[in-house]
C-alpha cells in the first residue's frame, strides 16, 4: 500500500503532465525527512505528534513540488521527453545532496504512534495495527482521488488538459496553474508515502533511489497514467513477492521482474493502460 500511494503520484503526474518524474523518489525521501524533523521537534512521541508531522510534512513536500514545477518543469513541457527526463534526473541529484547537507548522512528513524505500535489478532495471527491503518488509507486515497478527478471542476479540467492542453487553454482555463496544482498533488502523495513509511523503516540518503525503481515497476505493470492499474500493479507485485519468498527464497526477486517482462512483451502499455496512439 505504501507503494500504491507513491506510485499513484507518479502515474498522476505522467498521465496529466506527460512528464516521467524521476525525482518522485526524492519527494518521497523529503516527506520522510520532513516528518522526522517535525516529529522530533515535539517532545514525546504521542500519537498526535505523528499525525501532525505527517500532515505538515506532506504539505511541505507539496509546496516544494509547486516550486519545482514552476522553476524547472514549466520551461521544458514543450521540449523532448529525453530533456524532461534529464531535468528530473538532475533534480534527483540536487535533492539528494541537499538532504545530505541539511540532515547529514546518518540513519534516522521515527517512532510509531504508541496506540498503533501493537498488533491485532486476525484469524489467530498477529497483524500489525500500523500496517492495517495504512492498508485502509490506501483505498481511501484511491477513492478520494477518483472522486476528485471524476466529480469536480478541477478534475474535469485535469482530464481535459491530459488529452488536449492547448484546447483547455483556448477555452480560458489557466493551464499553468492547473499543472502546478497537479504536480503539487502528485508531490503530496509522494511525501505522504514517505511520511507513512518513515516509522516502519530507516530514513537515509539513498532511500529515494530504492523506491523509484519499485514504483516504476508498479506503474509500468499497471499501465502508465492509470490509477486503477497502479492499484492492481501494487497488489499483484506484493502477492507475487510474498509467494516467491515463501516457496523459492533464493529466486524470490526474479518473479517481479518476470512479471514486468511478460507484461511489457504482451501488453506494452500495461495491464490497464491505454495503447499510445501515435
Amino acid at each position: 500500500m505504501f507503494l500504491f500511494l507513491i506510485a499513484s503520484g507518479l502515474t498522476l503526474i505522467f498521465g496529466v503532465l506527460g512528464v516521467l518524474n524521476f525525482a518522485h523518489g526524492s519527494l518521497y525521501m523529503l516527506g520522510a525527512y520532513l516528518s522526522f524533523t517535525i516529529a522530533s521537534r515535539f517532545v514525546g512521541a504521542s500519537s498526535a505528534t505523528f499525525w501532525i508531522a505527517l500532515v505538515l510534512g506532506s504539505l511541505g513536500v507539496a509546496l516544494a513540488g509547486a516550486l519545482i514545477e514552476m522553476a524547472f518543469l514549466r520551461p521544458v513541457y514543450r521540449r523532448d521527453e529525453l530533456e524532461q527526463l534529464l531535468v528530473t534526473y538532475a533534480l534527483v541529484l540536487v535533492i539528494g545532496d541537499l538532504v545530505k547537507l541539511v540532515w547529514g548522512a546518518d540513519n534516522r528513524s521515527v517512532s510509531r504512534p504508541a496506540i498503533l505500535a501493537g498488533a491485532v489478532d486476525i484469524g489467530g495471527r498477529d497483524f500489525p495495527t500500523y500496517n492495517l491503518v495504512v492498508l485502509l488509507l490506501g483505498p481511501l486515497v484511491a477513492v478520494a482521488l477518483w472522486l476528485l478527478l471524476s466529480r469536480t471542476q478541477f478534475g474535469r479540467l485535469i482530464r481535459a488538459a491530459a488529452s488536449d492542453r492547448e484546447m483547455v487553454g483556448v477555452v480560458g482555463a489557466d493551464v499553468g496553474k492547473l499543472f502546478t496544482g497537479v504536480f503539487m498533488l502528485g508531490a503530496w502523495l509522494g511525501g505522504l508515502g514517505g511520511g507513512l513509511a518513515a516509522p516502519v523503516g530507516a530514513i537515509y540518503p539513498g532511500m529515494d533511489v530504492e523506491v523509484i525503481a519499485e514504483s516504476f515497476i508498479v506503474v509500468v505493470v499497471g499501465g502508465m497514467g492509470s490509477l486503477t492499474g497502479t492499484l492492481l500493479g501494487a497488489l499483484l507485485i506484493g502477492q507475487l513477492n510474498a509467494f516467491g519468498i515463501l516457496f523459492f527464497p533464493r529466486f524470490a526477486l526474479v518473479f517481479v521482474y518476470v512479471l514486468m517482462v511478460v507484461v511489457l512483451v504482451t501488453r506494452p502499455w500495461g495491464l490497464l493502460g491505454k495503447p499510445l496512439a501515435r
Partner: protein, 405 residues
C-alpha cells in the same frame, strides 16, 4: 557535484595543512581514499573519512612522518566497481598518490585490489569484508585492517556452539556479503554442532522496504535462533516491522555488526532488549586508554560519539603510518615488508597484520542489547570477545587458497 565538493574539501584540507607547519616545505605523502559516499553506505563512510582525517591530523601535529606531512585525497567510488577502478587509476596516475585505502563495497574492493596489483601500489582496505580479498584474490599489495566474513561467520558459530539452540534460520541481504556470511557461519556451525538444523533461509534484497513476507516466512519455520547479516537501514526497518508480530518473543535473533551505534542510535528504545549483536566498534569496550582517548578526541571534533566507520578509517590510517615509520621510507616494496606482521595499538586493543595473508587479526565483540539509565539507546551487555586468532584461516587452510606470494 559530489566529486567537486569533495575535491574542493580535500583541497582546502591540503591548503590548511601546508600553512600549518614549516615541515610542509617537503612534498606531502599522499594517501588516496576511496569510499561510496552516498546512499546506504553514507552513514558508515562519512564517519570513516573523519576517522582518516583525525589520524592524519594527529600525525601531522607531531611533525608528520619522515619529516613530511600526510595528505588525504578523498574520492567517491559510488559503491560501483567500474567507478572505483576509474577513480583508483586517476588517483595513481594524475594525483600521484603514494598509497591507497578505504572502500566499503566488497565488489569495489576486489576491483581496486586488481588495480593496486597492476600498478604495484599498497592498498589497505578499511571496511569491505569479503574474505576473497585476502584469500584466493589476495596478492602482495592488498591488505585489510578489519575482520572479514569468514572471521565473523566463524565467531558467530563459536558463540552459538555454547548455546542450546538447534533450529536455526539464516537471512541476509541478497548479494555477495550476505551469502558469504551465511555460508561461513553454517559451515562452521555444522562442524561444531553436527545436530544443528537450518530450517529456513530468506534473502531480502538490499534496500528492501517491506519485510512483511520475510518475517512471516521466518516465523513459519519456527526457528529457535535467526542468524542475520541484514545491516544498516535495512536492519532498522526489519526490527521495526518485526516487533509488532511478536517476532523477538517467538525466536532469538542474532545480527552481525548491528550492535554498532550507526543503528543503535536511530533505533533508540525500539531496539529489542536481549537481541544478540556483534559490534565492529564499542565506545565502552575495551576500557583502555587508547579507546577512551579516541572517543574523547572524536567527541571534541564532532560533538558526537564515534560511529563504527570512524574507527575503521582511524585504524587503517595508523597501520599505514606505522609501517612507513618502520620502513623509514615511502618506497612501496619496503612499506609492504614493514606492514607484514606489524602490530599496532588501536582503540580495539592491539591488532596484528598477519604476514601470510595480509589479514588483520581483529576479533569480534558479541553481546546482548541492554537498557541502561545513562543512554537513551541500548548498548552492548555481557560482552564476549572472540579473538581473531581463533577464527582466521589456519596457515594450512591458506596454503590451498592463496597462490605463491
Amino acid at each position: 557535484m559530489k566529486r567537486i565538493v569533495f575535491l574542493a574539501g580535500s583541497a582546502l584540507v591540503a591548503v590548511g595543512l601546508s600553512w600549518a607547519s614549516p615541515a610542509a616545505a617537503q612534498a606531502p605523502i599522499k594517501i588516496g581514499v576511496l569510499y561510496g559516499l552516498g546512499g546506504a553506505a553514507a552513514p558508515y563512510t562519512k564517519p570513516a573519512v573523519i576517522g582518516h582525517e583525525m589520524a592524519v591530523e594527529e600525525i601531522n601535529a607531531k611533525g608528520g612522518l619522515l619529516g613530511r606531512k600526510l595528505q588525504l585525497v578523498v574520492r567517491d567510488d559510488q559503491s560501483k566497481p567500474d567507478v572505483g577502478v576509474r577513480e583508483a587509476r586517476d588517483l595513481i596516475l594524475k594525483e600521484k598518490v603514494d598509497f591507497l585505502t578505504g572502500m566499503i563495497h566488497s565488489g569495489v574492493a576486489l576491483a581496486v585490489s586488481d588495480v593496486a596489483k597492476e600498478y604495484k601500489k599498497l592498498l589497505i582496505v578499511s571496511i569491505a569484508k569479503t574474505a576473497a580479498l585476502t584469500e584466493d584474490k589476495g596478492h602482495r599489495y592488498a591488505f585489510r585492517s578489519t575482520s572479514n566474513t569468514l572471521i565473523e561467520g566463524r565467531a558467530a558459530a563459536i558463540l552459538m556452539a555454547q548455546q542450546p539452540f538447534k533450529r536455526f534460520a539464516v537471512t541476509g541481504p541478497d548479494y555477495e556479503y550476505g551469502h558469504r556470511m551465511a555460508e561461513d557461519f553454517v559451515t562452521q556451525l555444522k562442524k561444531l554442532k553436527p545436530d544443528a538444523q537450518i530450517v529456513a533461509e530468506v534473502w531480502p534484497k538490499f534496500g528492501e522496504r517491506d519485510f512483511t513476507p520475510h518475517i512471516n516466512a521466518l516465523l513459519q519455520a519456527k526457528p529457535e535462533m535467526v542468524f542475520s547479516s541484514i545491516w544498516g537501514g535495512d536492519h532498522i526497518a526489519f526490527v521495526k516491522q518485526a516487533r509488532p508480530y511478536g517476532f523477538f518473543g517467538k525466536t532469538q535473533y542474532m545480527a552481525i555488526s548491528q550492535g554498532d551505534l550507526d543503528v543503535a542510535l536511530p533505533l533508540g528504545a525500539e531496539a529489542p532488549e536481549g537481541m544478540w549483536v556483534s559490534a565492529n566498534f564499542a565506545f565502552n569496550y575495551p576500557d583502555t586508554p587508547a579507546n577512551r582517548d579516541f572517543v574523547a578526541k572524536y567527541k571534541a571534533k564532532t560533538g558526537e560519539l564515534p560511529l563504527s566507520g570512524a574507527a575503521y578509517g582511524y585504524v587503517a590510517t595508523y597501520f599505514l603510518a606505522e609501517a612507513i615509520r618502520k620502513a623509514k621510507t615511502t618506497d612501496t616494496e619496503k612499506v609492504v615488508d614493514a606492514l607484514e606482521g606489524l602490530t599496532i595499538e588501536t582503540p580495539h586493543g592491539p591488532i596484528t597484520m598477519r604476514a601470510q595473508d595480509h589479514q588483520a587479526n581483529k576479533g569480534q565483540l558479541w553481546g546482548r542489547l541492554k537498557k541502561t539509565p545513562e543512554h537513551p539507546f541500548l548498548i552492548l551487555g555481557d560482552v564476549q570477545y572472540i579473538g581473531g586468532e581463533k577464527t582466521m584461516r589456519t596457515l594450512d587452510e591458506l596454503k590451498g587458497l592463496r597462490g605463491p606470494k
